[in-house]
């Protein structure tokens, strides 16, 4: 119905009081691929995510999602249309338990979220589905622990489970593996690969071996501009990209 690209931006630009964080970005994300957005610190990757999910309003440019112009949409509406993001700084509901975190996501679709007169025990029917999700990311043993007490890596894992609970068509993951140990990185990479089967994933990640392993396409940003785009083999041969990474201290 809407071609190959699930996301397409045209001339996407964001200016913060004279400082241009994202400049004239034309990004095309192919449906059912894993697309990585990389670049040195401050390149504008998170800002791009904020623009795509409408947490920030673009200064100029246009965003198409499934061929539909979402440049004026509200962030919550975008989530309901099937594009769900995670955050660079781990975003869990600290006072809710691990299970409840995932359930809050499942609950929205149920349509009971305004029911203030009902006991929350009616949410227990979602427990089985929630348990499956926390099992998949490996935090099942912390089911009844308040999420705020988890280690950083486990919070990231929980965040992925919460995001997956919405069964989104498109996932935006901002450094999903930051702060994880080798074991968890491996598991998360496998999970991302597994869930990408019938979805599209756009992810920011500094761990280049993960990026090389997972992504079909890589876009390199530097100072808000697209520096290069292509497969890992292509961009790793690009002298400008190598320079950008050496210059900022990355390998």
């Amino acid at each position: 119905m809407s071609g190959d690209n699930i996301i397409e931006t045209k001339g996407l630009t964001k200016e913060f009081k004279g400082f241009i964080a994202v400049s004239d970005v034309d990004l095309k994300v192919k449906r059912h691929t894993i697309h990585a957005l990389i670049g040195p610190n401050g390149a504008g990757k998170t800002t791009c995510f904020n623009l795509l999910t409408k947490f920030l309003t673009p200064s100029a440019g246009q965003i198409l999602f499934n061929g539909k112009d979402i440049t004026q949409a509200k962030p919550a509406a975008i989530a309901r249309q099937g594009m769900v993001r995670s955050f660079q700084i781990s975003a869990v509901f600290g006072h809710l338990t691990v299970l409840e975190n995932v359930r809050v996501a499942l609950q929205r679709v149920e349509g009971t979220s305004f029911h203030f007169w009902r006991s929350d025990e009616c949410l227990n029917s979602l427990n089985a589905k929630a348990e499956e999700l926390i099992e998949a990311v490996g935090v099942a043993e912390y089911r009844d622990t308040p999420a705020g007490e988890l280690s950083y890596g486990r919070k990231r894992a929980l965040e992925i489970a919460t995001t997956l609970a919405l069964d989104p068509e498109m996932l935006l993951l901002d450094e999903p593996m930051a702060g994880m140990g080798t074991e968890d990185i491996k598991r998360t990479a496998e999970l991302i690969k597994r869930v990408s089967a019938n979805r599209t994933i756009l992810m920011v990640e500094h761990n280049l071996s993960v990026v090389a392993d997972l992504s079909d396409t890589i876009t390199v940003l530097k100072l808000g501009r697209v520096l290069a785009e292509g497969s890992y083999a292509e961009i790793s041969k690009n002298p400008e990209v190598v320079e950008a990474y050496m210059g900022s201290g990355h390998a």
Partner: protein
């Protein structure tokens, strides 16, 4: 249906928490035989007011500085309905609560778009406007207020002029309201509120239109604050400018913080403490404010999470949830 949930498995038994609740209920039932009932009823009204306020501050993280307008206006409407229209108390109270609900929905709708201190300022501005209306409108009788409000017969049957009967009515209203608040907090809606309080951007990214949830919470909070004001106007048979004044808005903040934000019993404890201080020191005039301020400062410095907030962890070790 689902795997074992320890909370459910326990819920049949006599947990320490239940013992505490039943203890407080029993205390409330025998209290008027040992303590001046008017004092207790005043405490109950402010306990309800503070509990309603706490729904907003404790579970949504919104500081309203205009809650007196719901409390005070509801009192006016109830007093007017009972005195001028001769309606029965329950209908007069319902009209007061309805007024507070509408006022809450409108104020909330305009204030919710702001956050932090701006939210507080919008609510303050609105309540100042309503204060001005109360001073000017003829039906409030300005400085005099509506005096000699008849308590009437509940459902046309039960005579509320009897102090003990009135006491048990007010006590029942408080208990029912606290149960209702407890339910709101522990409902599917309450889950979303807690999620928004914990991490608003994340709640948005999950597709929640957070402003709608905040507005519903604001409106519910205003309605219950209104209920407190309505009942108070029947207890004291008076609705006056004191109840719409910004002092009252400030007092409810004080009570909630003193008792413990986001706890079930904290606001009630704080309300009783403040009411007790006011009654005890009422002989020394405006010094009450200074004493109240001093106690507030000491409490905030000593127990940052309020009286109940500090006691809760100690109780928790014995398996009681405050």
């Amino acid at each position: 249906m689902t795997s074992a949930n320890p909370a459910i498995a326990q819920s049949g038994g006599l947990t320490p928490q239940r013992i505490l609740v039943f203890g407080l209920l029993a205390l409330g039932l025998i209290a008027p035989f040992g303590v001046y009932p008017i004092f207790l009823m005043k405490g109950f009204c402010f306990a309800l007011f503070a509990a309603a306020f706490n729904l907003l501050l404790g579970y949504v993280g919104l500081l309203s500085f205009g809650h007196a307008m719901f409390f005070g206006f509801s009192a006016y409407v109830t007093a007017h309905a009972a005195k001028e229209w001769g309606l029965t108390p329950e209908i007069a109270i319902l009209l007061g609560v309805a007024t507070a609900t509408v006022l809450g929905a409108v104020t909330g709708w305009l204030a919710i778009r702001r956050s932090g201190i701006y939210f507080a300022m919008v609510t303050l501005a609105f309540s100042q406007m309503m204060y001005f209306v109360a001073v000017q409108a003829p039906f409030t009788h300005g400085e005099d207020g509506i005096q000699g409000v008849p308590r009437g017969h509940l459902l046309g049957l039960i005579d509320l002029n009897d102090t003990l009967t009135m006491y048990y009515f007010v006590f029942a209203v408080l208990v029912a309201s606290l149960l209702f608040l407890h339910r709101i907090v522990n409902s599917p809606f309450g889950q979303v509120l807690k999620a928004i309080r914990d991490n608003e951007p994340r709640a948005i990214s999950l597709g929640y239109e957070v402003d709608r949830y905040k507005l519903l919470a604001f409106t519910l909070s205003a309605a219950l604050a209104g209920l407190a004001g309505s009942v108070k106007s029947l207890v004291f048979q008076l609705a006056s400018l004191t109840d719409v004044h910004w002092h009252a808005s400030g007092e409810v903040v004080l009570m909630t913080l003193l008792g413990g934000v986001g706890t079930v019993f904290g606001p009630s404890a704080g309300a009783f403490l403040v009411v007790a201080i006011q009654d005890y020191f009422s002989g020394i005039g405006s010094w009450v404010t200074i004493i109240q301020g001093a106690i507030f400062v000491v409490c905030v410095l000593l127990f940052r999470s309020g009286i109940v907030g500090v006691m809760a962890p100690m109780l928790k070790r014995r398996g009681i949830q405050a």
